[in-house]
Every structure is written in structure tokens, then in C-alpha cells.
């Protein structure tokens, strides 16, 4: 159950700067914690986030163990043309999640 929650404006004017928000459910286990019997809990985090606007990369982030659980990223981009914004999260243990939202620019 790794739901992403997105916030992308449905409509925007050409050249307008729009805010994009992306939240995803993930434990972000740091790899530094130990269980009651002293065993290390292996690291399990999202390591990379990528955002593509009509196949063009507009935002990329590397994530590290200090990130909170359920990481929330917010950034800005310029609305150039109508199309799809695709989000990708990848991480430890083959974790991969993707989501997309459409934007119409007039």
C-alpha cells in the first residue's frame, strides 16, 4: 500500500509558475535502529525521486536516511504546455512507485 498523493493544478496560464506537491507513504527505515534483542533493522528508504513534464525532467531529488517517514516534496515549475506530469519514486529492496497527473495550459 504505497499511495502517492499529488497536488498539481488542473489548469494554468502559459508561462505561469505552478507549485507541485507530492506525498508518498513509506516507512523510511533509517538502518540505524536496533530491535530489542540488538539486531540492526536493515535500511529501507526511498533513494530517488524524479518528476517529468511531458518526458522532460523538471525535478530530481536524492533522499537519505535523515528524511522523515512519508516524504513530502514540494517544488515549482513553469507551465509550458498541456500534458502529463509523471512522478517516480525508487528505493531500497526494489521499491518503485509511479503516479501521474494532467495539466492543461492555455
Amino acid at each position: 500500500m504505497a499511495h502517492p498523493l499529488l497536488s498539481v493544478p488542473g489548469k494554468a496560464k502559459r508561462g505561469e509558475i505552478v507549485e507541485i506537491k507530492a506525498l508518498i507513504q513509506h516507512e523510511m527505515e533509517t538502518g540505524f535502529r536496533v530491535t530489542n534483542d540488538g539486531k540492526t533493522i536493515p535500511r529501507d528508504i526511498i533513494t530517488e525521486f524524479l518528476c517529468k513534464y511531458n518526458d522532460e525532467e523538471v525535478f530530481r531529488a536524492q533522499l537519505f536516511p535523515a528524511m522523515s517517514a512519508n516524504p513530502f516534496l514540494s517544488f515549482f515549475t513553469t507551465a509550458t504546455e498541456s500534458g502529463t506530469i509523471v512522478f517516480e519514486w525508487s528505493g531500497d529492496n526494489g521499491f518503485f512507485a509511479t503516479a501521474s497527473a494532467s495539466i492543461s495550459v492555455e
Binding site: M1, H3, L5, L6, S7, Q25, S68, N70
Partner: protein, 275 residues
């Protein structure tokens, strides 16, 4: 010399007697008054939301930024999933949660049919699971149970908390009130000493809240996850170094009941965000 000492002693006793009488009268007067001492007047009650910083408030207000919404989405999926030997989903009996569960969380804990004591929302979900779905009950604080409670609680967001009206609720409500005002733990503190008498003051840099249970289950940034009201109560109990109860204990349910009664009329915020 001896006589003077005796006179002094007699006067002291008389004085102490007067003081004791005065204290007793004051105590009786305060007990017969309209509100118990220290209880927050209805109009002055505040959700902890109002004591939070602007960033945390913005996080709660925006459904795309509120991590509690992730559990609400999970809960919606679970609501429609068939479970147990009966092969039924919640939706098979209750239909659309938006209609059938509207306002439900705002009047829990409540009596469930055939039970001698009130149960909270999580316990009610598990009763349904065991009796209607014939599935194994979900563990307290498990992801699934929190998700269902958040989804059901979300249907009451913005609605007023209802005070339990039934007469048979009274003994449990009184037990909850007694627990709220009872000093306990190695620090010898009662809930009321912080949350009735000193709300708005600071404790280690953080504001002391009124302990209004308006947003449960809620996302606590400190927990990095969603948690129930019972988890929060356990947190406070271990904070005053009192012995905690197992999750689901009647003591917690009574306290939940009292807290909901105390917050009657306040708006539900599920899923809230708290620091």
C-alpha cells in the same frame, strides 16, 4: 513558665481548629458549585490545532500534504475489500461510507449490542470483523485498523462531537472523570493538573494542550505515523511515570468517553496533524 506554655498550646489548637473548619467549609462550597474547580468553561475550549505553528496547520489543512490522508485512502480500499469466512466487505452491509458512517465517529465510545460496557471505534470495527465478517480481529495500532478508523473518522470531519446521552453511560463517564482527576505515577500528577489547570503554558518548550480528542486517529510528526487516542493516553501515562494499561483496556475507553464528553460540541478534525 509551665502555665504560659499550656496557654500557648491551647491557643494554637483553637487556631488550628478554626483553620480546619474554614478549609472544610471552602471545600464543601467548591464541591456544590456549578463547575468542578479547574474545569475549562465551554466557551474557552480550544483544539490543539490552535496552539500549533502555521506550518503544521497548513499541513493539516491541505489534503494533498496531510499524511493522515494516506491512511484514509488505505481505509477506503479496506472498506471495500471482502474479508473473512463470510466473504463480506464493510461496504456489503454499510454501503457508501460517506452516507452510512457520517457522524458515527463523533459519538464514540458507545455501547455495542450485547455488551455491558462502552467500546471505542477501533473495538467496534473489530466486533464487526469478528461477528459479521468472521475474520480475525485486527491488532490495536495495526496499519489496517488505524486506516479503517481514519476512514470512518474522516466521514465526520467538521461535525460536532456528540455527548453521550444514555443513562447507562454515566458510571463509565464518572470512572473516566475520576481517572482524569486522579494523581498517579511517580510524578504524582493528574491529567487535570496539566490539561485543565495549566493549558497554554509551556512544558519543555512545547505548549500544554487542553487534551481535546478532536482529531483521532491523527498523524503525529513525532511518531512519524498515524496513532490512536489510546496510544496518546499511554504516552501521557508513561510521561508521568505511571503504569500503562494494555491497549483496549476499559480504563482507556472510560477516559476516552470522558474526554469526548468534555469536548462535546467541538468540531471533528480527523485525520489531524500534530507536532
Amino acid at each position: 513558665m509551665e502555665r504560659r506554655q499550656r496557654v500557648f498550646r491551647d491557643r494554637l489548637c483553637e487556631h488550628l481548629g478554626r483553620v480546619t473548619r474554614f478549609v472544610l467549609i471552602a471545600l464543601l462550597l467548591s464541591l456544590s458549585g456549578p463547575a468542578a474547580p479547574g474545569e475549562i468553561p465551554l466557551a474557552e475550549r480550544k483544539s490543539s490545532y490552535e496552539l500549533m505553528g502555521p506550518d503544521t496547520r497548513a499541513m493539516q489543512d491541505d489534503d494533498a500534504a496531510n499524511p493522515g490522508m494516506l491512511w484514509v485512502l488505505d481505509g477506503e480500499a479496506l472498506w471495500n475489500r471482502r474479508e473473512g469466512a463470510a466473504g463480506k466487505s464493510c461496504a456489503d452491509c454499510h454501503g457508501d461510507a460517506g452516507a452510512s458512517m457520517r457522524g458515527v465517529a463523533a459519538h464514540y465510545p458507545a455501547f455495542a449490542a450485547g455488551r455491558a460496557s462502552p467500546v471505542n471505534l477501533e473495538q467496534r470495527i473489530d466486533i464487526c470483523r469478528a461477528e459479521r465478517q468472521q475474520a480475525t480481529p485486527l491488532r490495536f495500532e495495526s496499519r489496517e485498523l488505524l486506516a479503517l478508523a481514519a476512514y470512518i473518522g474522516f466521514q465526520s470531519r467538521g461535525m460536532a462531537i456528540e455527548a453521550p446521552a444514555e443513562e447507562r453511560v454515566q458510571p463509565f463517564l464518572q470512572a473516566g472523570r475520576a481517572m482524569f482527576t486522579q494523581r498517579q505515577g511517580q510524578l504524582n500528577l493528574s491529567c487535570a493538573q496539566c490539561h485543565d489547570d495549566n493549558w497554554g503554558q509551556k512544558l519543555a518548550g512545547a505548549p500544554i494542550t487542553q487534551a481535546q480528542p478532536t482529531g483521532y486517529p491523527l498523524y503525529r510528526l513525532e511518531w512519524q505515523t498515524l496513532g490512536s487516542l489510546q496510544r496518546r493516553l499511554r504516552n501521557c501515562l508513561s510521561g508521568i511515570r505511571a503504569e500503562t494499561y494494555p491497549l483496549g483496556a476499559q480504563e482507556y475507553v472510560d477516559l476516552e468517553l470522558f474526554l469526548m464528553w468534555r469536548a462535546r460540541g467541538m468540531k471533528m478534525e480527523t485525520p489531524a496533524v500534530r507536532p
